[in-house]
Amino acid sequence: MIRFFSIFGTLVLALFAYATYRGTSFTSYDEIKDVPKSIRDNPGVYRSVYARYPHK
C-alpha cells in the first residue's frame, strides 16, 4: 500500500506542478490554426470552423 501511495502521490504532484507551470483551466475552447490576417480589417468575415453555441 505504501508503494502504491508513493507512486500515486508522486504522479499527482508531478501533474500538479506541470499544470501549475503551464496553467490549467476548465474552460472549453477550440484551438484554431492559420487565422488569416485580414480579420483585423474585417472582423465580420471570421467564422469559427468549430463554433459551438454556447461555449460555457
Binding site: 500500500m1 505504501i2 501511495f5 508513493s6 500515486f8 502521490g9 499527482v12 504532484l13 501533474l15 500538479f16 506542478a17 499544470a19 501549475t20 507551470y21 503551464r22 496553467g23 490549467t24 483551466s25 476548465f26 474552460t27 472549453s28 475552447y29 477550440d30 484551438e31 484554431i32 490554426k33 492559420d34 487565422v35 488569416p36 490576417k37 480579420i39 483585423r40 472582423p43 465580420g44 471570421y46 469559427s48 468549430y50 463554433a51 459551438r52 453555441y53 454556447p54 461555449h55 460555457k56
Partner: protein, 432 residues
C-alpha cells in the same frame, strides 16, 4: 539428592468417586482439584485421601475446542491442556460467556488460553506490579513502561468446569476481574478474598492455535473485534502519515511558489458598447503583448446587465502565427425579491481562463449578442494564480490516508463497543 532419582510420577488414572468414570490426572500432582467430566463432581486431590468437595450442577454445554490431553508448542515451551472452564459476566442484564483452557508443563508451570467470540489470547501470570496512572481519569495503568487502558471491570462467575486446576474451583465461585488493554496485550487482575493475581495475555490468531495443537475441527469463527486484537494497518498507518505530510508539504510549496511567481499582469483593458441594433456586431481589439513563458491567460468580462444577459463569442488570435483560441461566454444577472427576501442569480462578471498560451503579440476578436444594448469591460491578464489545481491535488492525496484513518477508527469503535468506555459514534475518539 544428587545420587538417587526417585521414581518419576506418571500420569494417573483413577475412577471418579461419585460415578466411577475414568479420570486422568495430567498435572503431575501440581494440581489440587479435578472435576469429573461425566458427573461434574469436584474432587480434592491434594493428598492421598481424595475427597469430594462439591459438584457442578451445570453440565458443560460446549466441548472444549482443544481436547484435554492434547499438547501444543508455543514460543516458550510445549504445554498440555489439562483443564477447561466457561465463565461469564453479567452487564446490564446480558450474560457474556468466555472459555479458558489451563495449560501445563512440569518445568515451566501453567499457562492459560482464553477464547471469547472466537478471539484467543495466550496468558501467563505475572509478578511485576503495575502502577496506576491517573492521567486518563479512568484508572489506566502502566506496566513495564507501556500504558494499558482500562477496558472493563466486572464480577466473573464460573459456569462449568472439567479437568484439573491448581486452585479451589467451586460451583458458584465469583471473583472481581479487571481488564486493561494495550493491543495486542491484555493485562487482567483477578481478586478473591485473600489473593490478587495479575496476568498478561497476548492476542493469538486462531490459525496459530489450530496449528500448535494440530486441531482438525475448525475453531469458532471470530465475531467483531477482539478486546486486545491488534489494529490492522497500524504499521501502514504510521508510514502513511509521514508520506502524506511530505506530499502535502510539497503541494503547498508548489502552490506558494506559483503564487509568488505569477505575474498577474494586466495586459489589456477596454470598455465597449454593444449596440443591439447594429448590423455588424463583431470587433477586433488593439494588439497587446503576452510575455514570459507559456502560461495562462484570463479574459475577464464585466457587463452592465440587470435582469438581462449578454453573450460574447471571443477569439484570442496570435498576430504572428495565426493560431487562435475560440470560446464563448454567457454573462447573465438577475435579481428580485420574494417572500424569502431579496435574491440574485448569476453575475455581472465572467472570468475565462485559457491554459498554456505561448508568448507573442495577440488581439481579441469579440462578437457580442444579446437582447439589449449593453456596456461591457474586457480585461486581459497574463499568468494568473489558480486555486483549483491545488485543491484537487490535496483532495486526491488525502483519499487514501482518510480511508485508512476511517477504517482504523471504525475498528477501534468496534473494539470498545463492549467495554466500560464505549467510543462516541462521531467526534473525537481515541486511537489505539
Amino acid at each position: 539428592m544428587d545420587g538417587d532419582k526417585p521414581a518419576t510420577p506418571k500420569v494417573q488414572t483413577f475412577k471418579c468417586l461419585q460415578c466411577g468414570s475414568p479420570i486422568s490426572l495430567r498435572g503431575l500432582l501440581q494440581t489440587t482439584r479435578v472435576v469429573c467430566s461425566r458427573c461434574g463432581t469436584v474432587i480434592d486431590i491434594s493428598d492421598e485421601n481424595m475427597r469430594i468437595i462439591g459438584r457442578f450442577k451445570e453440565r458443560p454445554t460446549v466441548k472444549p475446542a482443544i481436547p484435554l490431553g492434547s499438547r501444543g508448542a508455543f514460543p516458550d515451551g510445549v504445554f498440555e491442556a489439562i483443564g477447561f472452564m466457561q465463565r461469564f459476566i453479567t452487564v446490564e442484564g446480558v450474560d457474556y460467556r468466555w472459555r479458558e483452557y489451563l495449560l501445563f508443563n512440569p518445568f515451566k508451570g501453567f499457562r492459560w488460553l482464553s477464547e471469547y467470540n472466537g478471539h484467543w489470547s495466550y496468558i501467563k501470570t505475572v509478578m511485576h506490579q503495575p502502577r496506576v496512572l491517573h492521567i486518563f481519569g479512568d484508572g489506566s495503568i502502566t506496566f513495564k513502561g507501556s500504558v494499558f487502558r482500562h477496558f472493563q471491570s466486572a464480577n466473573a462467575k464460573v459456569e462449568f468446569v472439567i479437568g484439573e486446576f491448581y486452585w479451589r474451583v467451586e460451583a458458584g465461585q465469583s471473583c472481581l476481574v479487571q481488564d486493561y488493554v494495550n493491543p495486542p496485550q491484555i493485562l487482567s487482575m483477578e481478586r478473591t478474598s485473600n489473593e490478587i493475581t495479575w496476568s498478561l495475555g497476548e492476542y493469538v490468531e486462531p490459525q496459530e492455535i489450530a496449528t500448535a495443537f494440530k486441531l482438525t475441527t475448525p475453531l469458532p469463527a471470530r465475531i467483531g473485534v477482539g478486546v486486545n486484537q491488534p489494529s490492522p494497518l497500524v504499521q501502514q498507518g504510521e508510514s502513511l502519515k509521514g508520506l502524506t505530510a511530505l506530499f502535502l508539504g510539497i503541494a503547498i510549496s508548489i502552490q506558494l511558489i506559483s503564487l509568488a511567481m505569477s505575474d498577474n499582469a494586466l495586459v489589456f483593458q477596454r470598455n465597449f458598447l454593444f449596440n443591439a441594433a447594429a448590423t455588424e456586431k463583431s470587433l477586433v481589439t488593439d494588439l497587446f503583448e503576452l510575455s514570459g513563458r507559456t502560461s495562462n491567460v484570463m479574459v475577464c468580462t464585466k457587463a452592465d446587465v440587470n435582469n438581462n444577459w449578454l453573450y460574447v463569442s471571443m477569439t484570442l488570435i496570435n498576430d504572428e502565427t495565426g493560431t487562435a483560441y475560440d470560446f464563448g461566454r454567457e454573462i447573465d444577472y438577475y435579481f428580485g425579491s420574494d417572500s424569502d427576501g431579496a435574491w440574485t442569480e448569476g453575475s455581472q462578471t465572467d472570468e475565462a481562463i485559457l491554459p498554456a498560451v505561448p508568448a507573442g503579440r495577440y488581439y481579441l476578436r469579440i462578437e457580442p449578442d444579446g437582447p439589449a444594448s449593453t456596456r461591457y469591460l474586457v480585461s486581459v491578464y497574463r499568468d494568473v494564480p489558480q486555486w483549483w489545481p491545488f485543491l484537487i491535488t490535496t483532495g486526491l492525496l488525502l483519499v487514501l490516508p482518510l480511508a485508512v484513518f476511517w477504517r482504523r477508527r471504525s475498528f477501534e469503535y468496534q473494539r470498545w463497543s463492549e467495554s466500560d468506555h464505549p467510543m462516541a459514534k462521531f467526534g473525537s475518539g481515541d486511537d489505539e
